[in-house]
């Protein structure tokens, strides 16, 4: 099971690892079931890892990313030796410490100080070493005043702070971290995060499992993307993370579309079944109309569109077009595009102000503006009309973006707001710009 490292520069070598889990139809840990099932293999083998291989160099920080259940935590558990691979080998050199379970072995009736010793000893740290680090640990936890109180009197945040302080202050060559950086308040999280970066700067090898792509990008040199028990891609953190996010978003949108259809179907059925009061029917009808309305006014309507507002005016048609005037939602960085917005006013006395915003698929608000601020005008006294917003040069880089459209009055009251109406894909960028958007720039070598 445990092999020797073949390349001395590597801290971890994983070779063609397979892992099966037995999935019992009804897991029989009761003796009766064990006896009844003797000789019958009443379980299925589920292959969680289907042969993965990778190396981690000494001093490197690597993240494993992937959707829930893809096998990344299983991989991490095998690196800690809690699970054994069914096939393949894992070789590691150096002392391994894991931040998988925080507060292991904490006893609620013992003091914070006593629990530090217990917790550290479970990680294999000698009491002498804890003596030496005790002040660091207590200082890191910021619990100086409370350290001699029983842990049961701690708030959950204090508890986690103490647990994290012990875990992060261990001496190791390889640190395995499973999704635990979400501890405590913002200030403490930042502190933990910086500590992790310090450890890395001091040459510790780190393997991280995280769903926080932002953290992964900041700490890790390299990312391994696991999908369905296989390595789908690996490479520099920024590139793999972006590809992963895009892929996740596409899958999510597909899913939302399916769910929206199912929901509409169900609501239609419940309307027809007629066991509901008139009031309930009206609510459902309105919801149905709403989602249909978004589709009706915009052929490019995304599955996530949500609409609300007072209704004195409303959008009647929204379409995004390219330079040639053809409907289009896929662009390249630098393209010109226009959005044609038709509306009607049910109450012509209102001064209508149009607002538009762009949000990236990971909920970073990228850009927005409003007509009144840009032009000094609002629209009033018209029963219907059209406004056109033209973006001369799309600076956004590769990714999926949501477009929001709002009609407000001059006081900011929301008359008709549609979030995520159009999903815009920027499919090509220069490849030389990184971040959210491109900037006009020059390099000069002098």
């Amino acid at each position: 099971m445990n092999a020797n490292i073949s390349n001395p520069e590597n801290a971890i070598e994983v070779r063609n690892v397979h892992k099966f889990f037995k999935v019992y139809e009804d897991k029989g840990t009761m003796l009766r079931e064990r006896i009844v099932n003797i000789g019958r293999n009443k379980y299925e083998k589920r292959e969680v890892l289907k042969g993965i291989s990778f190396d981690v160099k000494k001093g490197e920080a690597v993240a494993l990313i992937g959707r829930n259940g893809c096998g990344k935590s299983t991989t991490l558990k095998m690196l800690t030796k809690i699970l054994r691979p069914n096939e393949g080998t894992i070789a590691e050199q150096g002392r391994i410490s894991s931040l998988i379970e925080l507060g292991a072995g904490f006893h609620p009736d013992l003091t914070g100080r006593e629990n530090i010793y217990i917790n550290a000893s479970i990680f294999g740290i000698k009491n002498k070493e804890v003596d030496r680090r005790l002040d660091d640990i207590i200082a890191f936890s910021e619990l100086e005043q409370y350290i001699d109180n029983p842990v049961r009197t701690y708030s959950s945040g204090m508890y986690m702070r103490l647990a994290f302080a012990v875990a992060i202050n261990v001496d190791a060559d390889i640190l395995l971290v499973d999704e635990i950086l979400a501890v405590g308040d913002q200030a403490f999280q930042t502190k933990c995060f910086n500590k992790l970066r310090d450890l890395k700067a001091n040459g510790m090898t780190i393997v991280l499992v995280s769903h926080s792509i932002g953290q992964v990008k900041q700490i890790c040199d390299r990312v391994i993307w696991i999908e369905d028990g296989l390595i789908r891609d690996e490479g520099p953190a920024r590139k793999i993370c972006d590809d992963y996010l895009n892929d996740m978003e596409l899958k999510r949108l597909e899913r939302v579309e399916v769910e929206a259809k199912m929901r509409d179907q169900k609501e239609k059925e419940s309307l027809e079944n007629g066991e509901l009061s008139q009031e309930e029917k009206n609510i459902i009808q309105e919801k149905l109309n709403n989602s249909m309305k978004c589709q009706k006014i915009c052929s490019q309507c995304g599955p996530d569109a949500r609409r609300s507002g007072t209704g004195e005016a409303e959008f009647t048609d929204v379409i995004m077009v390219n330079e040639k005037g053809e409907p289009c939602t896929r662009f390249a960085t630098g393209d010109k595009l226009s959005i044609r917005i038709k509306f009607k006013a049910n109450d012509t006395s209102k001064n209508l102000n149009f607002t538009f915003g762009i949000t990236r698929s990971d909920w970073v608000y990228c850009y927005g503006n409003e007509m009144q601020e840009c032009t000094g005008h609002t629209i009033s006294g018209k029963e219907a009309g059209e406004v056109v917003l033209t973006i001369n040069k799309l600076n956004l880089l590769k990714g999926a973006y949501f477009l929001d459209f709002w009609i407000q009055d001059e006081a900011g009251v929301e008359i008709d707001c549609i979030h995520n109406l159009i999903v815009m894909h920027v499919e090509e960028d220069t490849g030389k710009d990184h971040g959210i958007m491109g900037m006009d720039h020059d390099w000069e070598i002098q």
């Binding site: 037995k22 030796k81 054994r84 379970e101 292991a104 009736d109 479970i122």
Partner: protein
């Protein structure tokens, strides 16, 4: 096997912590605290003495001392093995999340009970001194040897049962019932002297018989135990430990998956 032992020794601080956690944690919140380690056996002795000294009077002289010398070591055995059987499943949050030699858990569980027994021995010595039996220096030096043998036997059984309990949860209950019967198969409330030879042989198949007889010899009869008893004691303790560890080592790899 040697590397395994080395690793367990590496983790001796964890064993120390787990024992401390068990003992401190257990008594921390109760008003009488550690005193319970003495009170519990005291009441146990009082109840059995009432039954076998007053209701069904026994022919054994100084019955309560005879009883004490056997029941205190027995309590260690039955608690260590009975509660130790669940030591892996009850610590599943540790065993499924963190790597450490799994033997640490049964070792700590047995060690904590062992320390409890040492505390309870305050009562044993109190009784033999106050009761007039006294201490024979020529025999008493053998006491630690019997205790260590009993510790090894307990550890063997606990390794065995705790590993099996991971796969068959009923084991915990079965061990509980086993203990209930086992106490009567051990000469604690009665003496072996007046038994039929065949019954004696059957009782000697129980490794706890020779251990309890050794305690009786050293503490009650103030003499060195029979060589045969000592041989059975150490032989069975080592065999059970080896079997326990072999089974444990064999099953240990898949603990995390089974829990």
């Amino acid at each position: 096997m040697i590397s395994r032992l080395k690793e367990i020794i590496e983790y001796k601080d964890m064993i120390y912590s787990m024992v401390k956690r068990e003992l401190r944690g257990r008594y921390q919140k109760s008003a009488l605290g550690m005193l319970w380690a003495l009170l519990f056996p005291l009441f146990q002795i009082a109840i059995y003495t009432f039954v076998f000294g007053v209701i069904f009077p026994s022919s054994i002289e100084n019955y309560y001392i005879y009883l004490t010398a056997g029941i205190v070591p027995w309590t260690f055995f039955s608690e260590a093995v009975g509660q130790g059987a669940g030591c892996i499943v009850n610590n599943s949050n540790l065993a499924t999340k963190i790597y450490f030699p799994r033997e640490v858990l049964p070792i700590s569980a047995v060690l904590a009970k062992f320390i409890n027994m040492l505390l309870a021995f305050v009562i044993v010595f109190l009784f033999i001194v106050i009761g007039g039996v006294g201490i024979n220096p020529a025999a008493i030096w053998f006491l630690p040897i019997v205790m260590i043998a009993e510790f090894i036997l307990c550890l063997g059984f606990t390794l065995l049962f705790s590993a099996i309990t991971v796969y068959i949860r009923d084991m915990e209950y079965i061990v509980g019932i086993l203990m209930m019967a086992w106490i009567w198969g051990t000469p604690i409330m009665y003496s072996m002297d007046n038994l039929q030879p065949i019954v004696k042989v059957i009782l000697l198949c129980n490794p706890m018989t020779s251990i309890v007889q050794s305690y009786h010899a050293v503490l009650y009869y103030k003499q060195l135990p029979d060589t045969l008893y000592t041989a059975i004691t150490w032989g069975s303790a080592i065999i059970i430990l080896v079997i326990g560890e072999l089974v444990f080592a064999h099953l240990e790899g898949d603990f995390a998956e089974e829990m």
